[in-house]
């Protein structure tokens, strides 16, 4: 049964489509994709403190990747680019996932200390492993689906620290090159999901502005499939 939100019914103005562009690790890849799709990203590339730019026919709005589903679900942005890791963690947000943009490839993994048996041992002897993560819902779902019990501990900062000082037996985190893991004496034990950048859309924008949404989607598909 679908749920009903009232305060979430955010006001939208007409005008050009608004596209949420993620800052951080996906920023460069997003700019490249937008350039190739023929949008003007010079504003985003300037050192302006502004967060809203005209991208030749599309308004570009910059924000944290984890805020993109929030803005898009409410319709404050019509479309957005964010990582699959964010979408997995916020899987209750109602946004349409239209396209795998291919860049920003990372893997969500379960990692433990090299040569350390604590993950398995705690599971056998204590009935659950202790897992530190910035993705509590992804971690909980993974252990649930694989029939194991885990005590999931949410941390905000460098999650690699947790097993080193004994907060947790292992971590669930997003890994690009694996260098941070290696430097902290950690190794990948299980791969949970492959994550790339995705194009998401607001449900009502997708219905009410079909031509514009489809056109921009097609341009981005073309730009990222090369």
């Amino acid at each position: 049964v679908s749920t009903v939100s009232v305060s979430g019914a955010t006001a939208r103005a007409a005008g050009p489509l608004k596209l949420a562009v993620p800052g951080g690790a996906l920023f460069e890849g997003a700019l490249e994709a937008l350039d190739r799709a023929g949008l003007d990203t010079s504003g985003l590339r300037s050192d302006s403190r502004s967060m809203i730019f005209d991208g030749s026919g599309v308004t570009l709005v910059t924000m944290r990747p984890s805020d993109v589903p929030t803005y898009v679900e409410a319709g404050a942005a019509d479309l957005g680019i964010t990582g699959k890791d964010v979408l997995l963690e916020q899987s209750d947000r109602v946004v349409y996932e239209l396209l795998d943009l291919g860049f920003g490839e990372c893997t969500m993994v379960l990692a433990g200390r090299k040569g350390d048996e604590r993950l398995g041992e705690d599971e056998r002897r204590l009935g659950a492993m202790r897992i530190a993560t910035k993705y509590p819902r992804v971690a909980e779902r993974h252990f649930e689906q694989t029939g194991r019990q885990a005590e999931v501990i949410e941390v905000k900062g460098s999650v690699e620290l947790a097993p080193l000082v004994g907060l947790a037996d292992g971590i669930v985190d997003l890994v690009a090159s694996g260098r941070t893991l290696a430097e902290n004496d950690l190794e990948v034990r299980e791969e949970i999901a492959r994550c790339t950048a995705r194009l998401v859309a607001n449900r009502v924008s997708h219905k009410l502005r079909p031509r514009e949404v489809d056109e921009l989607t097609a341009r981005l598909r073309e730009a990222t499939s090369r």
Partner: protein
């Protein structure tokens, strides 16, 4: 000291209440004008009864025992209780039955999302008139209600509830795999859908792309042709049903605000054939929805075709406020 109320519920103070009542009155007047009579049903029902109507999808989130140990539940919509009532109480009477309601319903919420546990639905049920006439009848009522609420930019999405169930069956996809794909289609998780389709053997690339492409077809009558060009028998059946409804709407000059949408899926288990959703450009959320539920009354012992829709009243109120603001803005900027 502030004494809290449960998340997803709220108090309504006089200014908001006055506006909500005014909106309710306008909607109720419109429904009455089309010959619909207002009904009420109990907020609590036997869980078994609601379950019977909702089928495999979750019924009520709020269940409790009464003093005799019977399991009761808070209703999650009005369609199931009205189906129960009509099947049981209108025995000697000849259909069609035209009924409307303005009533509270209850659904589960996720924390910190501004979701409503208790909300008001205003809607109609037309029981005993088959497609396409019945469907067109309620769409006309819906359009009049939107006008009365001042939402003249609002749009009605018209889709078909059986399309993907049948299209997937045609590809030999059944059971859990089908349910999972229907869920992805409903959420428009096109990347995930593609990935799942790739896991299934014996499906041509072309068929995979057809399913994904179908879900993106929305617009006027031409999308029916586009769908026919790529689809199989299930698509043929769904598009001819949709064409029937759209023809009927055009005959009544009521098709202008209706957008055919082959990507529309609703998550309530009882829908068959035509389904509806209501959007307004001023807000990012769906204002309401509905559709045909030709099999629901039979579950309660009287086999009658039926169709209805309902508004989320509080959301319509937000949209009204935003439309007023947008209207003022436009005049202010003197475009």
């Amino acid at each position: 000291m502030i004494h809290p109320i449960p998340p997803g519920t709220r108090d309504i103070l006089p200014e908001e209440m006055r506006e909500l009542r005014e909106l309710e009155r306008r909607l109720a007047d419109t429904f009455s004008r089309f010959g619909y009579g207002e009904v009420g049903t109990p907020t609590i029902e036997y869980d078994e009864v609601l379950e019977r109507g909702n089928g495999r999808t979750a019924g009520s989130a709020y269940r409790f025992f009464d003093e005799r140990g019977d399991l009761l539940a808070l209703r999650s919509d009005m369609t199931v209780p009205i189906a129960r009532m009509v099947a049981g109480r209108f025995g000697g009477e000849e259909p069609p039955f035209r009924l409307f309601y303005v009533a509270r319903a209850y659904r589960p919420v996720r924390p910190q999302r501004g979701q409503m546990r208790e909300f008001t639905q205003a809607g109609v049920e037309l029981i005993g008139t088959p497609a396409p006439e019945g469907t067109a009848d309620v769409i006309e009522v819906l359009e009049a209600a939107l006008d009365e609420a001042g939402l003249d930019r609002a749009l009605i999405g018209l889709g078909d509830a059986d399309l993907y169930r049948q299209a997937l069956a045609e590809l030999g996809i059944e059971g859990e795999a089908r349910d999972s794909m229907l869920k992805r289609l409903a959420a428009h998780d096109l990347v995930g859908l593609q990935e799942e389709l790739e896991l299934i053997e014996g499906i041509a690339d072309e068929q995979r792309q057809t399913l994904v492409a179908l879900s993106q077809l929305r617009g006027s009558r031409e999308v029916l042709e586009e769908a026919r060009a790529i689809g199989g028998e299930a698509v043929e059946r769904a598009t001819s049903r949709l064409a029937g409804t759209f023809d009927e709407l055009e005959r009544r000059a009521a098709a202008d605000r209706v957008q055919i949408d082959l990507g529309l899926l609703r998550d309530l288990g009882y829908y068959t054939g035509a389904i509806l959703e209501i959007y307004d450009p001023a807000v990012g959320h769906v204002l309401g929805g509905g559709g045909r539920y030709d099999g629901l009354l039979a579950r309660f012992g009287r086999d009658l075709p039926a169709v209805g829709f309902s508004f989320y009243l509080e959301r319509v109120h937000v949209a009204q406020a935003e439309e007023e603001r947008a209207g003022k803005g436009e005049r202010g900027e003197a475009q």
